[in-house]
Symmetry: C2
Subunit: 361 residues, 2 copies
């Protein structure tokens, strides 16, 4: 059992701007791409990814060897309303599965040679017997946001800080890429409520089955969320309040982690629907972090497409995933690594003595 260390962070640490990625390195990396033995732009998204990583890492040839995956688990008071297809016990059971190596994210971490940590931000059942879980429980679960704010101000700050702490551990290991994942029965309900209000989207347009609700279940979920939004309408005044009143411990920890990673100059891959909700809050709390965030995939959760459009971001793949745990973010790591390898190792036209494009081409 690992205890989180106490920190004396400035309460508004999350508003400190991240450094702007290097403009000159970005230009040099773009220039390099144009000299490689291929028609200009022929590697599409992979060229842009390599150039962006170069700017973030402040080196023309970026690298992504060390990847850190942190999965934040938390329980949600809103499950009292019957909004999930799985029992709440799964939040703890899956933490054990993460640690023992049987979950999707465990397999992916092994295959990618990434470090994996599991952070308990507060779950209904007691996971203190699980060796290897980072314990940071804020409360057994959030409050039921249909009736009251999910978190107090102190709990919200504490959750943000759990994300910050995870990034410090990653930074100490010299990590080049940070992936946050989540596990929390009921958390698509919290994420949907949060996104609806934050991005001014209709609840009915972005509410989906989560882990597997049927159509009747989805309709019930919509009513629960709409009721909550109406209940809190006068309090949902900014991203911080929206996150605190409608979010979750693990979602808020992810928000804190994304901001902290950017502040440390570490690139982030955002996973699916829930993580996008955390990122959407982070982007409003601290817009300077935008250049550090790569969005991995368009989720099968039907609201994700609309959310992505609203955020003006472009996911890398669309594989009909809807698992969470950070699994979709982990899956694109090889594409980012290949983008770097191509950028770093391909020969230029001059080096390879290959003829360039004709002038009238």
């Amino acid at each position: 059992m690992t205890e989180t260390t106490s920190t004396a962070l400035d309460p508004a640490w999350w508003s400190e701007p991240a450094a702007r990625p290097s403009v000159s390195v970005k230009a040099a990396a773009s220039e390099r791409q144009n000299q490689l033995t291929k028609p200009p732009g022929a590697l599409g998204r992979l060229e842009q990814i390599a150039i962006q990583l170069a700017a973030i890492q402040n080196q023309v040839k970026p690298s992504l060897e060390q990847v850190h995956i942190a999965v934040f688990a938390g329980d949600h008071g809103i499950v009292e309303e019957g909004v999930s297809a799985f029992p709440q016990a799964v939040t703890v059971e899956m933490q054990r599965n993460f640690i023992r190596g049987g979950a999707a994210i465990s397999v992916l971490a092994r295959e990618l040679d990434a470090t994996l940590e599991v952070i308990n931000t507060g779950t209904h059942a007691d996971p203190s017997h699980l060796a290897g879980v980072v314990h940071g429980p804020i409360a057994p679960q959030t409050a039921n946001f249909r009736h009251q704010a999910a978190m107090t101000e102190a709990q919200w700050q504490q959750a943000l800080c759990l994300g910050w702490e995870s990034v410090q551990r990653a930074a100490e290991r010299g990590v080049k890429l940070y992936i946050g994942g989540e596990m929390g029965i009921g958390n698509t309900t919290a994420a949907t409520a949060l996104l609806a209000r934050l991005l001014n989207l209709a609840v009915g347009d972005i509410t989906g089955p989560g882990t597997g609700l049927n159509q009747q279940g989805v309709q019930h979920k919509i009513r629960v969320i709409q009721h909550a939004l109406d209940r809190h309408t006068n309090s949902l005044t900014d991203a911080g309040a929206i996150s605190r009143i409608l979010g979750g411990f693990e979602i808020t920890a992810l928000t804190g982690a994304y901001i902290a990673a950017a502040q440390q100059g570490i690139a982030v891959i955002v996973d699916g629907f829930i993580c996008t909700a955390a990122a959407a809050v982070a982007l409003q709390l601290n817009p300077s972090i935008r250049p550090y965030l790569f969005f991995s995939h368009c989720s099968a959760e039907p609201g994700h497409q609309k959310v992505i459009e609203q955020l003006g971001v472009e996911p890398i793949v669309d594989l009909n995933l809807r698992l969470g745990e950070g699994s979709g973010a982990a899956m694109v790591v090889p594409l980012l690594r290949l983008a770097c390898a191509l950028h770093n190792q391909m020969a230029t036209f001059a080096e390879a003595a290959v003829s360039e494009k004709l002038e009238n081409g």
Copy 2:
């Protein structure tokens, strides 16, 4: 310098059906996916990929360690019509770049720990000085199909056979996955003409810039292709004739390779626009091979989307690639490998003692 071995193949070898992937193994692999610790279907496309590979390999837990990449290079008589932005010398210069390790596909092969071979199917300049190139030159280039058939019947058979030979070399190494790539200045013109006739698509709808024509160049390319289709209209009676009259040595070799791989029970990843043209011919010559073909990506070449729809196939990623060489196919190898790792290594609900979905969920 490696000489290709002569073979005494039945001239209609390509019509021999491939074995149907195992129905019982497919069912067992699907059943396994449903027991893994995730909501059913939550891994989306990756579940389907793993199940299909299991059926192809006739084992519930498939593997993809050995990957073989074969890049076929060939020159095209049609370049006399001014349809490419790059000089024809590039076809040979790039073979040298492939062998020396500076091309995109060379980098990808190294990163994926895949074997890479380059096959010269017939190029204008003499590449016989290039150590490591498999020499199978049919002629210095195809005939200019604006005026005559690109290939004679004998040349077409010879080109198909170059693909077959490449697959035999791969099979001898115990390869689980075969990737074909292509290099040939002018080959988007051949592929576009072929696809327009084969799939009954309007030339103007599927003609694009290839390696980088400007808008005027694209209009000229459309006129050249349309003229050729009109010229040969009475001869373009079936997939074989369309391939022979409008195709290229390297495109035809790919057609032969795709068929031969399926006949050997080896899964194939199809690259972009040119390779899809080769696959489209292969699918008409021998429909039994369809279950063995995975389509890697939707190319930035604007006609590719329409071609894909017409073929009823679903590419795995869309990264705005338009390089060829097999590079897009190589890029998805890690996704296929992760699909296998997840399928093979994740714990079942029973193994992990994780609660399953609620009955009313």
